[in-house]
Amino acid sequence: MSKMKEKAVSSKMNGGYVPGSSGHVYQKRRDPHHVRSAVLTIAACILLAALMAFYQKNASDHSYAISIIERSAVYAVAAAAMNLVTGFTGLFSLGAAGFMAIGAYTTAVLTIPLSARASVYYMNGIAPWLENLQVPVLVAMILGGLISAGFAALIGIPVLRLKSDYLAIATLGFAEIIRTVLAAPMMDQITNGSYGLNNIPGFTNIFQPLILAAVCIAIMMLLLHSSYGRAFKAVRDDEVAAEAMGINLFRTKELSFVISSFFMGISGGMLALFMRSIDTKTFQITMTYNILLIVVLGGIGSITGSIIGALLINGGQEWLRFLDEPLTVGGVSIPLFRPGFRMVIYSIVLMVVVLFWRRGIMGDREFSWNHLFSVFRRKKKASQGGAQ
């Protein structure tokens, strides 16, 4: 910065400078390609909708694809919620499975058709107050999210004061406690204990989970772009500096944790609708690890990364199914391929990402068309350079 320029600014200051009165209007720096980006986004959405409509129309032929997409939508919400708290607020929370369990059970308990309840609860009977209590699916899911958020608020009070690794183990512990309570004999008449719940109404078409996921993720992205989102990131980057900026650490962490848990609850509800039958074994620590895998693969600190991660992991689960089946090449059966091999490959992928590719697919940036174009351009240039 040149001295002259500074002098020029300073002369202006001396004439009774009052902050905020300079008449300078803040202008959002415009993206030069914003029209192109908007058009491409809309086009992609239309294309996607058309593809989904096609799948929906021929649902019986594409049940595989539909199930992958629906599952991905569920996991994308959960991963984005985990990212909100882990990637954006810097809190390494491993409570995902517990909060999802709350959401899933709330949704399931409140939506199982009244006519089916006697058969679902035939072992333990049903609590009298629950017998005729049924609410619309959407209401049940939101309720699940709220209960989950309420629990998070309570848990957060002691836990969020802890340092990173203690926080991880404490949230993990809470998730396990939640699961134990759900499975406890005293809850039999509500959660049906170890028998689990079934006959949960499912999604009627592929658009329901997709729209639900899109809305949830859009809200999270808006939140992250607001001043609260910036406060989250400030806490993540430097707690001491954030406090010096007037940001209340506990309140900010609590907010992030509660909102994240709300969406985990919603995604749990979606999972219940997707699977149509749940039990407490679904929500073991492995569930949290699976979501963590998605977050790490997609990029810690990137919501779009979480979506891509969810698609890859859930898609991979189907595409890699051949790994679990015996393979015979030219009459020789290859002993490597048998049940469990797929999960080994998965864990190796996680390790490789963590060790050699710590940024994951998206790092901490969000997807943008401009970036995509610039990557292509660089590739093209590189290949041209190579040809010469």
Partner: protein, 283 residues
């Protein structure tokens, strides 16, 4: 000065003891409105610890801090510390008033850090914008759904203005940590100003700057003082800078105040010269 002085910061008998180490020993000092006051002393004298007490990072073992006439921090040795207390004046205080740093900032005390603490993953603009969050009235819903657009725009404007003022307009969109050292220091000051403080604490603002940059900085500090009606309390090792800008100077050595006065008085004070050069007796 003819007109009556208006006190901004009043530190009274503050002692900060870590285990058996007394980092700050019975420190008392004042900063009046519109003043630039400096706190100097050799490395390890307890200057930054004093800042950390004033900004609520540490709770003092004993003593009181008043800001604009209100007691914002007060403590006295309790429990195990009572027995092990090595300082003085423990009987003067009976309250325990604790404030976290964010509340101190909200009251109007902003600070910079000795080892620059910018938000690494954020741009210059975002770094400054963060500081406006504290005064934002929007709740999480209205902020998420953009119902506070007017406020958000005003905040963005303020942030941009401050960035312009510290001469970082062209770098507004680059990552804060990619700036050269001197500019990072300025950015930290801009960020502190965005909290709209009435007292600004600068912790070694000239550290790592060359003489030219230091000159600019002196100018700059005086300028922001006038523009924002600030009182400034500064820790610095650069004697030229201190002597040229400060109204009064406090000298700290081994946690204790050893001298205070105008720059001229301090320059000619034998105790201070000894503390800095070492007489062989104190060490």
């Amino acid at each position: 000065m003819a007109e009556p002085r208006e006190n901004v910061l009043h530190v009274e008998n503050v002692t900060m003891q870590f285990g058996g180490v007394v980092a700050v020993n019975n420190l008392s000092l004042d900063v009046d409105k519109g003043e630039i006051v400096a706190l100097i002393g050799p490395n390890g004298a307890g200057k930054t610890t004093a800042f950390n007490v004033i900004t609520g990072v540490y709770q003092p073992t004993n003593g009181r801090v008043q800001f604009q006439g209100d007691t914002i921090i007060e403590n006295h040795p309790r429990g195990k510390m009572r027995k092990n207390y090595l300082g003085e004046n423990a009987e003067l205080y009976s309250n325990s008033i604790v404030r976290t740093p964010d509340r101190i900032t909200k009251l109007g005390i902003a600070r910079t850090f000795q080892n620059i603490r910018l938000f690494k993953a954020m741009t210059v603009f975002e770094n400054v914008l963060i500081a406006t969050h504290m005064r934002s009235e929007a709740n999480v819903f209205s902020a998420t759904f953009g119902l506070n657009r007017r406020e958000e725009m005003a905040n963005r404007e303020l942030a941009m203005e401050l960035i312009e003022m510290v001469g970082l307009k062209d770098e507004a969109d680059v990552l804060a940590t990619s700036l050269p050292y001197g500019k990072q220091r300025r950015l930290e000051i801009a960020r502190a100003l965005a909290t709209k403080p009435s007292l600004l604490l600068l912790d070694e603002p000239a550290a790592g700057m060359n003489p030219q940059e230091t000159d600019d900085l002196a100018d700059f500090i005086c300028r922001i003082k006038a523009a924002f009606h600030l009182s400034i309390f500064v820790i610095e090792h650069h004697m030229d800078l201190i002597m040229s800008i400060s109204d009064r100077i406090y000298v700290l050595n081994f946690g204790k105040l050893i001298a205070q006065g105008t720059p001229e008085e301090i320059q000619n004070n034998q105790i201070v010269i000894d503390a800095y050069l070492g007489t062989g007796k104190t060490n």
